[in-house]
Amino acid sequence: MEGSGDGEATRFRARIPRAVRRARWIGLGFRGGTTAALVAFLLLAVGFVLFLVRASLPEIRRTGIGFLFGPHWYVTAGVYGAGPAIVGTLLTSALALIFAVPVGLGAAILSAEVAPRWLRGALAYVVELGAMVPSVVYAFWALVVLVPYMKRVVEPFLLRTLGVGFGFAGLPLGQDVLTAGVILGVMATPTIAALSREALLAVPRERREAARALGATRWETARIAVLGPAGPGIAGSIVLALGRALGEAIAVVAVIGNTYQYPPSFLSPGTTLASWLVNGFSDAIGTQREALFELGLILFAISMAVNVGARLALRRSASGAEGPGPLRRWLGRRHRPGLPGVTAAAGSEAWWPGVIARRPRRILRRKVVAAVVVVLAVAALGIAVYPLVSLSRLAVENGASVALRPSFYTEPLPPPCLRNCSLGGISAPIQGTLLLVGLASLVAVPVGLCAGIYLSEYARGRLRTASGLVIDAFVGVPTILIGLFVFSAFLQYRPDLAQSAIAGGLALSILMLPIVARATEIALRTVPLTVRESALALGFPRHRVTTRVVLGGCRSALVTGTLLAVGRAAGETAALLFTVGWTPYGFSGWDQPVSAMAPFIFQAFWGDSTPNWVRDAWGATLVLLVLMVLISLAARLSLRSTNVALPE
């Protein structure tokens, strides 16, 4: 007779084949689903590129390579050339880097290396907040604060001191290439500061202590033990920031003066690829539209090259690659035959007293240098956070009185008027933004999540590298191009929907998708192999390991990634500019135009609007800023909750 225990075991074993079969089917389904998501994304990417190419083909045929150098944009004559836009783009981005690299790096060094420890987290948070401020907010801050300041103070000063020899000539207009470069620099600074800080913090403590134990000051420690290993990460952050600057449309169009010319001086108005698209696309037809598409194609090619380059550099640093970088390796190839300077035999001791005598002499000087670096870093941090402080203050001063009224959130926009206006609210843009971001999340979060899972858990080798790079390229794609793509694609197949809530939602989902996918992939990769293996060893099927163990292990990182994507979408202007149309009224159907927060602000400051709309736009700005603060706080909190749970 069998004991009842044996019977249990037999019955249990009998269930195994069935469970295994079921798990295999579910596993296949899971794998199929995630594959489909990645394929969908890749198809979208390919479609995006093909569409841009096809739309600009007529212009490419007409002007060939000459388009790149053509200096004119004569709509009436139908003569188009990209020269001034390309030059303007490169010039403003270079100016942006000249501003943002020292400021961002200084802020990063301060918040990672030299500030008192209790202050570091707060500093980093404030700087990072700057990266979340929507570009439309920077745009009007630039108009209200930066342009007058440049016009009255900086530009006259530059004209007096540096003058023509340095490319500063003409009148101080305020709206010119230099100002565009500065606002792009302001916007690029938080990216450089935040990512460089991560690269600095990734350098292990032992390295710093090794330098400290040699008697290095804090600054010397940063220089010899930290900046070198963090170099690829810092370079990556700079190139990534460059990618953003190249593709920024909204802030540039506000301050650059929008003149199609090779700027003869830094103080002349000009244009960039992205800003010329904003400027001209909505009422362009025929050949001009084709030429604008070619501008978009050029912009896409430049930003894609830059973004992929940045990611390659960042990956190198993330993979912990050590040793001198490629440049140093190349420089280091000159071979030193032994040490020609050696004159005395080892152990002769004749040489040491000289070294020992140096110690006290140098210490004061080294400390002064370290102190100067601290002062510079504090100054850099000040410059980095000033725009944020200034624009928050403006938003509170001008927007608080409106935004504190409860009816502000429930009333529709007031009719435009000049005097004795009735008070209205921004319920329509709020409702529109909620619906658009909701629709976008509905599409982008599941698809992005699945694509990220496939990439991290199943994709191997070339496929993984290639799709990773495509995602990287699309994380940094200029959003104005997304708007262009969605609008024109609808125009071709469903012209009635080209300016509708559904088009806007899809544009935002294209914006969010790569962000979510990347965040997922990165989050999944942080779950250690040992965790996966121990789950597999317990007999967990592969997909259960992924859904239960791996996703569970990095839940908060996923939440953070999604939150940041939502934040980006909620503040987005350029992708919606052509796609949502314009209406002051509330939502009236997915196939109808809809208003949204950021486009409303843009419209109120630039379009035909009246003082009461401008006032409401200030209120809307404040609401957006508060929203960004809330999102970043939520992201922080959700990340912190894991950090606590992580074993030391």
Binding site: A213, G215, G228, P324, R333, P340, A344, R362, I363
Partner: protein
Amino acid sequence: MAAKLDIRELSAWYGRRQVLYDLRFSVPDRAVTAIIGPSGCGKSTFLRCANRLHEEVPGTRTEGAILLDGQPIAGLDPIALRCRVGMVFQRPAPFPNLSVFENVAAGLRLLGVRRRDELDQGVYEALVAAGLWEEVESALDAPGVSLSGGQQQRLCIARALAVHPEVLLMDEPCSALDPIATARIEALIAKLRSAYAVVIVTHNLAQALRVSDLTAFFYLGKLVEFGSTDQVFHHSQEKLTENYVTGRFG
């Protein structure tokens, strides 16, 4: 033997938590002093007090004093102190983006040595002293991290020796190395003792026995026994020490 380091009533804290209690002993010049004890008993903390790295960790505190040649180190400039008291860590930590040559030259450059011949001479002497010269003579421009683990550790020793310290603190310098590399470092320590005061923390009792002249046994942050290595290992005064060195706990 003259006392190089004089430890007087030294106590140390991380936050509220006290990890060293009232240590008193002297480290002689031109000798190897081993510090043994179970992990977590404060050995590393003691070394880090001796070159004032301890105070770099936020929230830490010390009481009492360490005298270097009769001078309290609290009164010295930390930079000057660390030039006189070198340190080698458990995990070899060459500066990853610097070549072998530049790793060793790093300390000299900090001191403002710029002339090629001075740098060459200093690096040469340090590499010879660390017993690494023959092995890296033809690879001075290779990255420091391209060397083997044992070579990296000797590179770190050379880096510390290049600024000509008087005391060399070594925190478990062999615990990440294989036996052959360990033997090399031990031979090196035997050589260094003629010129430096060496303080070595080790988990390996046999190593303490092989390389050291004096041994201090730490337990739970207190100095249990201090004396010649032979005495501590073979004629211990304390029951605790005897149990530890005979492997009855640890």
